[in-house]
Symmetry: C2
Subunit: 458 residues, 2 copies
């Protein structure tokens, strides 16, 4: 392993300056909104990042426009064609701050209390962004940077990246790379370095059933016609069997097996059955037979009812036989499932099972593909060594059950995997009052990033 | 058959006076409300009825108080102990009138247009009430009344008779009788005399399931815990089998068979499968195997989902794994099912089938028993002959799929059956703008009531 001692020393010496830089970034209230056009605060934030990149000698530093907030770009390509090119993805926008009264200090007046820096965006993800920039700075100012970097820092992640797909399609050629390096993540605990190498995909649907033409009196008509709420219950109940397996046609055809070694890694996570019970507050755990809770929630596909509405749901009793019933259901996908095939399977299931007593509509409300970085890839090898170098122990390998649309988007449009390497903590109060960044963790993160950027080869 | 010719002649001669009396009753805006205490309009209406009974020489004419509106009572017991004693049940309150702008004429300014008299309460049920009173008057003023009558006319039926049970318990001894004679009903069409001899009961429940302690992110936790909306779908789907039979333990144990002759009668109803299709607007009919739609909706028990709510039901997608799910489900009961046994069956089903991954609560929101008058009873025989005498053809025998709580209440507290004999029509706009009473039908109804009161024996 290359020991980038000079860069590490630089980072340690500049901790106070790094903290002050992060604070100045956190003072800009870059709350994104769905409104078209951008705002002075967003522009100021984007300029702040562009200024950092320019200061480091990056080229092609730009604020490329979108219908809302610009994307900050910048390139460092001096490592040459034999070195890998990393796309550094991040976002400079933050969540809203309400309820403001629950904040101990002003969300845009960063305050250090104990080991933590409190401010909106401290962890999600201005802290991670500064960690990446300062790791790059530490290398450029000392031993030199041995990889090519292309920055792409958007300003709309907290509102669902509505303009990113069109932006990427438009600027695809500019972002050619070998790997996406995404800091919008964290580790499991301050003493548990971890690598998130997989994310689940999502297929989210609304199913609408209509039975009788209008709501009917359940006394006068009950028994003679089917009840769409009942039919929807039947259809949904039939989507899963007694062993917790999803029955939609072809659903498992492309599901990648969880290998023995992967199961061993997942078993190392600090999430045993007692943890899942406590975290969920459920009376008992359950799920697909033959898998642990961590495997079920992280590495296996699922089907959930996210919402169900039919008939009378107020206080008391109303003897209505409803005309309509609606459910929102979604599937979490794992490699190599695709939203297109899942939608086809659901449609085939409804075609085969919906009775002629109702009509139905199926609408796909959102979808994104699953993604995984091979654990024996160069990116995972380098990241693993980097974490071990800083924490003094081998990281655990995690997959997140959630979905990160940008990961799928970059896979689809640029054809590369994303390595998630950020240093937030589960208790950082993301999207909540009193968001914080643990500073020792931040400084360790900078060092791990230095190691990673020094370690990775093509 | 006794031919009460003089009474019939009296009724015919007094048609104009009867119409004017009905109009004067309809002018009083006796809309009931849930508020405690009564109102001048309610008292005036009650007094109007009491005045009619006093004018006919009834005894014990009273306005007996309840927490809201008084019950009008009065007795005619001069037919002696060998004659039957009928409890004449009715209500003098009416539904609200909104939306007022849809009325062609003022709801409390009764207007005759064509064959119909338009006013709120014209059919439900001041018209029927006046029909009964005027039939009694016609007999008393001519050949004499051969039955004993006890009137009990409440003022809260349109708000669900909230005080009637306590009232009946308090005054039980006063209302000892052989049969309840209830005019709060109608016939199937002007040329189809019909007798409603059965009503279904009702057991209405709310089931509430809780899974995780709070709503969870469906990505982070989906797969590891059960989803209460999914479990509720499973539980509900399991309540009915593929043949449309309800699977709750013991549900059919006390269901009285629909006899061959009863099925023949139901088949005579002007409600074939095409009628049910058109009336419901459903894409197709369905229900319990082996029964026609009329049998399913009138003479067989059913289970309906009246409402279902869980999770996110607004626009768009929210990836929530809901903590709670709620459904309102109700059963329509037929003789000799009881709400108590149905509740026990549902509870046993939930105990046997709800998984340990959720907790559940079951609340009974309302219930009333089913009721039937034996078709070979004296009451049905007399009513059938009365209808045939007026319409010139045998009536059809109908059972209503709805529930009439007062019928069960009187069965429970006084131990007698109710004969439903009213002369409303299906298109009378009950509870809607432009309520009407068909006048030829009203006058036929008075004559049929004269026949019935002359015909019935102990």
């Amino acid at each position: 392993m290359t020991a980038p001692d000079a860069a590490l020393a630089y980072a340690r010496e500049h901790r106070q300056a790094i903290l002050e830089d992060l604070k100045s970034l956190l003072r800009i209230p870059s709350i994104s909104s769905h409104a078209m056009g951008t705002s002075p605060a967003m522009l100021q934030t984007a300029e702040w990042i562009a200024g950092q990149l320019r200061g480091l000698g990056f080229e092609a530093v730009d604020l490329l426009p979108t219908p809302r907030n610009p994307v900050v770009t910048g390139e460092w390509l001096r490592a040459g064609p034999s070195a890998p090119t990393l796309l550094v993805y991040g976002h400079y926008d933050v969540q809203p701050t309400d309820p403001l009264e629950l904040w101990t200090s002003d969300p845009f007046d960063p305050q250090v209390r104990g080991d933590n820096l409190y401010a909106r965006g401290a962890s999600d993800m201005k802290g991670q962004l500064v960690a990446h920039i300062k790791a790059v700075e530490s290398l450029i100012r000392t031993t030199g940077l041995k990889v090519n970097l292309k920055f792409m820092i958007e300003g709309e992640e907290e509102i669902g990246s509505p303009d990113l797909e069109a932006f990427l399609r438009q600027h695809k050629d500019r972002f050619t790379c070998d790997l996406c390096f995404n800091g919008d993540s964290g580790i499991l605990a301050p003493d548990i370095p971890s690598l998130t190498y997989g994310v689940r995909g999502l297929s989210y649907f609304e199913i609408r059933l209509t039975g009788p033409a209008s709501d009917l009196h359940s006394g006068s008509f009950g028994g003679a016609v089917d009840n769409p709420a009942f039919v929807l219950c039947q259809l949904i109940a039939g989507m899963r069997d007694r062993r917790g397996r999803i029955t939609l046609p072809g659903f498992y055809d492309r599901v990648r097996r969880v290998s023995k070694s992967e199961r061993e890694e997942l078993a190392r996570l600090p999430m045993d059955e007692a943890w899942w019970l406590e975290k969920t507050g459920a009376p008992a755990l359950s799920g697909e037979a033959g898998y642990t809770s961590s495997e079920r929630a992280k590495a296996r596909p699922t089907l959930e009812v996210n919402g169900f509405l039919s008939g009378f749901t107020g206080q008391g009793s109303k003897t209505v036989l409803p005309s309509k019933a609606m459910a929102k259901i979604s599937m979490r996908l794992v490699p190599d499932q695709t939203p297109v095939e899942v939608r086809q399977g659901l449609r085939a299931y409804l075609e085969a099972n919906a009775p002629p007593t109702v009509t139905w509509e199926l609408e796909e409300l959102s979808s994104c593909g699953p993604a995984i970085v091979e654990r024996d890839s160069e990116a995972v090898r380098a990241a693993s060594l980097a974490l071990e170098a800083v924490w003094g122990k081998r990281p655990v390998f995690d997959r997140t059950g959630g979905s990160i649309p940008v990961v799928g988007l970059i896979q689809d449009l640029l054809g590369v995997d994303s390595l998630l390497l950020g240093f937030g903590l589960p208790d950082d109060n993301l999207h909540a009052p009193n968001e914080k960044q643990n500073l020792p963790n931040l400084f360790k993160g900078i060092e791990a990033t230095i190691h990673f950027l020094s370690e990775i080869h093509k």
